[in-house]
């Protein structure tokens, strides 16, 4: 696995990190590094080992094997030093719902041992940051999900950690709030904080500087979103409207023989075809379809997405190559 980290020195260094629960290997010899100031996305299906990895990196779970340095501290031997240095927003819970906004912030700042003027300043910062300055006295229970997530993020940042781990921060949050949340994350990174975020929203992964993909406990890919697409879903994607998948597949049979067609997928009324070689040329592609009697089609250039990468890698991880076109 390439250890090229952006922006110089690494804040997280993971080497063959492994966690086994009995006979089950949740995380299998995972190695990577996260550079300072990076948004590092950790992607995978439920049960792929994302949360287990993040828990080990936060000092919540002792690794079975391997080593991880987080902010310079070994998570296996000095979990408490790690905890002091990082912020963590867990997947299930981040706030006490029967406490008010301000009481939650007071609690978490206290839990990080803050007091006096610094505590007051940071609570004020968090209220501002979460846009809750005028709702500080409200019970957290009464806040909508998106605002709760913002408050949870703010409370994990009270002690100004250089690195923050967000485990599925936008699970169950509406799209508009998700976009707002990601705006906050980018703001944070501009301020120099490193963000390690797990998600299963593939569109969110596009916002990350680099993305690691977990399949069944193993890290099967790690690159920038562009790099992942170029490596795993190469070629040109054509969106065809006005024909069925079968018609397109039949029309392209010779090219498929020649391994130039990599995927044919239905997206709504469109059929997306990913091709390499001569068919990457628009005229060549439409010519091939017309030759099979498929005329009067709308043909548009489309983009491979991380979803394509994900399906490609997960399919390969589970069933080998046969799922590809």
């Amino acid at each position: 696995m390439a250890d090229d980290t952006r922006g110089g020195d690494a804040i997280v260094e993971v080497d063959a990190l492994t966690k086994r629960f009995g006979a089950f290997t949740a995380v299998d010899r995972v190695s990577f590094a996260v550079g300072r100031g990076e948004i590092f996305g950790y992607l995978g299906a439920n049960g792929a080992g994302k949360t287990t990895t993040i828990r080990m990196l936060c000092g919540l779970l002792a690794p079975t094997e391997g080593k991880a340095l987080v902010a310079g501290h070994d998570v296996g031997t000095h979990p408490r030093r790690v905890k002091r240095a990082i912020g963590y927003m867990s997947q299930r819970f981040s706030l006490y719902l029967d406490l008010t906004v301000e009481e939650n912030l007071a609690f978490f700042s206290g839990a990080y041992g803050m007091y006096g003027a610094r505590r007051a300043t940071r609570i004020a910062w968090a209220l501002e940051h979460a846009g809750l300055a005028d709702r500080r006295g409200e019970l957290t229970r009464s806040l909508p999900g998106g605002i709760r997530q913002r408050l949870a993020l703010a409370s994990s940042l009270l002690h100004e950690p250089a690195l923050v781990f967000l485990d599925e921060p936008t699970a169950g949050v509406d799209p508009a709030s998700r976009r707002d949340f990601w705006r906050l994350i980018r703001q944070l990174v501009r301020g120099g904080t490193t963000v390690f975020v797990t998600t299963h929203h593939l569109d969110e992964a596009e916002y990350c500087d680099r993305v690691g993909l977990m399949v069944d406990g193993r890290l099967v890919a790690l690159d920038t979103p562009q790099g992942l697409k170029a490596t795993h879903v190469p070629g040109q994607v054509w969106a065809v409207e006005g024909a069925t998948r079968d018609q397109v597949a039949t029309a392209l049979a010779p090219a498929r023989e020649a391994k130039q067609v990599h995927a044919i997928q239905v997206f709504g009324r469109e059929v997306h075809v990913r091709v390499t070689g001569p068919l990457a040329d628009r005229d060549a592609f439409s010519g091939a379809l017309r030759a099979a009697g498929l005329g009067a089609l709308r043909l548009e250039e489309s983009q491979a997405t991380l979803e394509d990468v994900f399906l490609e890698l997960v399919g390969r991880g589970r069933n080998g190559q046969e799922e590809a076109a």
């Binding site: 002792a62 979990p79 408490r80 963590y88 867990s90 029967d98 206290g110 839990a111 041992g113």
Partner: protein, 373 residues
């Protein structure tokens, strides 16, 4: 400094949880008062006014004197008179009477002849506790009747042997005076164990324990912070039960109040730890509350000496009673309240409760890892 800040932050959060959930306060402060009123007024182990049916077949001055002896005090209350012995049985069956006195014909004659005069007392054994007490009353009435006759016939007569009993510390043997301190044990175990078991299990269940473990807060800090508010709540309960007992039921406070609160504090600490052990082991509110109820309420009721004397129990239960702190708490509390005992007498109780506390503390910190499973 930051250690103290962390403990305070957790304690404060816990106070907010308590204040936001009215059920907790109702449970913690309403229940003790309800229990004490219930036990103090309604549940009484003092047996008085036993309904008595009388069959007087002798119709003599002597037989009427015997009936009068039974009903003179508040012990028995005459509810029916019948002519035939057979007709009182239905009264006992229908619970109209719980005792029947049958004086056969010839009672006065036998008394005057100096022969053994017999009267029969039927008791309802279905309620064995009342029956045993009624029997005691009846025996002492019969004895004093005999003595009276002996004095009449012999001019003067003294019993060859007479035990002169003086009951110390609770001269009227009122059960409320004994029950109120016993109630304290129930109130404290319920709140201390139940609430701590629930509060820690709740954090596991909601996933907040994970968030808490991700902060630099230490195990001991979590324990101290979470238990402190419940410790204070427990002391408030002690004060509440004690005040109610003193004001409404004339419970005497013969010993030192400071010692009393020392005993209560130690017992509270032991119970808070037990609650903590339950919650870190079960990590589930449902299971925790059931384990808490079974492991505290039963020992508090049955093995504390609150109601049933421990000395009469089978050896296994006696052993168990000597391990659990409930017995020592009731012992110490009754000693201080009723007998006015000092530290010189109650220290073994304190030591026993302290030992239990230490064992529970060790078990809970061992099981309470600052990592998620």
């Amino acid at each position: 400094m930051s250690r103290l800040v962390r403990v305070r932050a957790i304690a404060q959060k816990e106070v907010f949880h308590i204040l936001r959930d009215p059920q907790i306060l109702i449970f913690a402060l309403g229940m003790p008062v309800a229990l004490i009123l219930l036990f103090g007024y309604a549940v009484s182990f003092d047996v008085e006014h036993i309904p008595l049916a009388v069959v007087d077949q002798d119709h003599s001055a002597e037989s009427r004197a015997l009936v009068a002896a039974f009903t003179a005090q508040d012990l028995f209350e005459l509810v029916a008179t019948r002519e035939e012995p057979a007709s009182v049985e239905p009264l006992l069956q229908r619970n109209v009477a719980r005792a029947a006195l049958i004086i056969p014909e010839g009672y006065a004659r036998d008394v005057h002849r100096g022969q053994m005069a017999t009267a029969q007392l039927l008791l309802d054994g279905a309620d064995n506790m009342s029956a045993a007490i009624a029997l005691g009353y009846a025996n002492s009435i019969a004895l004093s009747q005999s003595l009276g006759r002996a004095r009449v016939q012999l001019g003067s007569f003294e019993m060859p042997v007479e035990a002169r009993v003086r009951t110390l510390f609770n001269p009227r043997l009122q059960s409320s005076v004994v029950l109120v301190p016993g109630l304290m044990v129930i109130v404290l175990v319920l709140v201390a164990v139940m609430l701590t078991a629930l509060t820690v299990a709740r954090e596991y269940e909601r996933g907040s324990m994970e968030q808490l473990f991700a902060t630099p807060v230490g195990r001991i800090e979590i324990i101290l912070g979470k238990l402190a508010p419940y410790f204070v709540l427990g002391l408030v309960q002690v004060l509440l039960v004690l005040t109610t007992g003193v004001v409404l039921f004339d419970v005497p406070v013969n010993g030192s109040l400071a010692l009393l609160f020392l005993i209560a504090s130690l017992f509270l600490l032991a119970m808070l730890m037990q609650g903590l052990v339950i919650s870190v082991v079960t990590r589930n509110q449902m299971v925790a509350s059931q384990v808490a109820a079974i492991s505290t309420l039963l020992p508090a009721m049955l093995l504390s000496g609150f109601v049933f004397p421990i000395d009469n129990m089978p050896p296994v239960l006696q052993g168990l009673a000597h391990v659990l702190p409930a017995k020592y708490f009731v012992d110490g509390l009754r000693g201080v309240l009723l007998r006015g005992n000092g530290l010189d007498v109650v220290w073994p109780d304190l030591v026993a409760m302290g030992l239990f506390f230490v064992v529970m503390l060790v078990v809970s910190t061992k099981r309470f890892q600052r990592r998620v499973a």
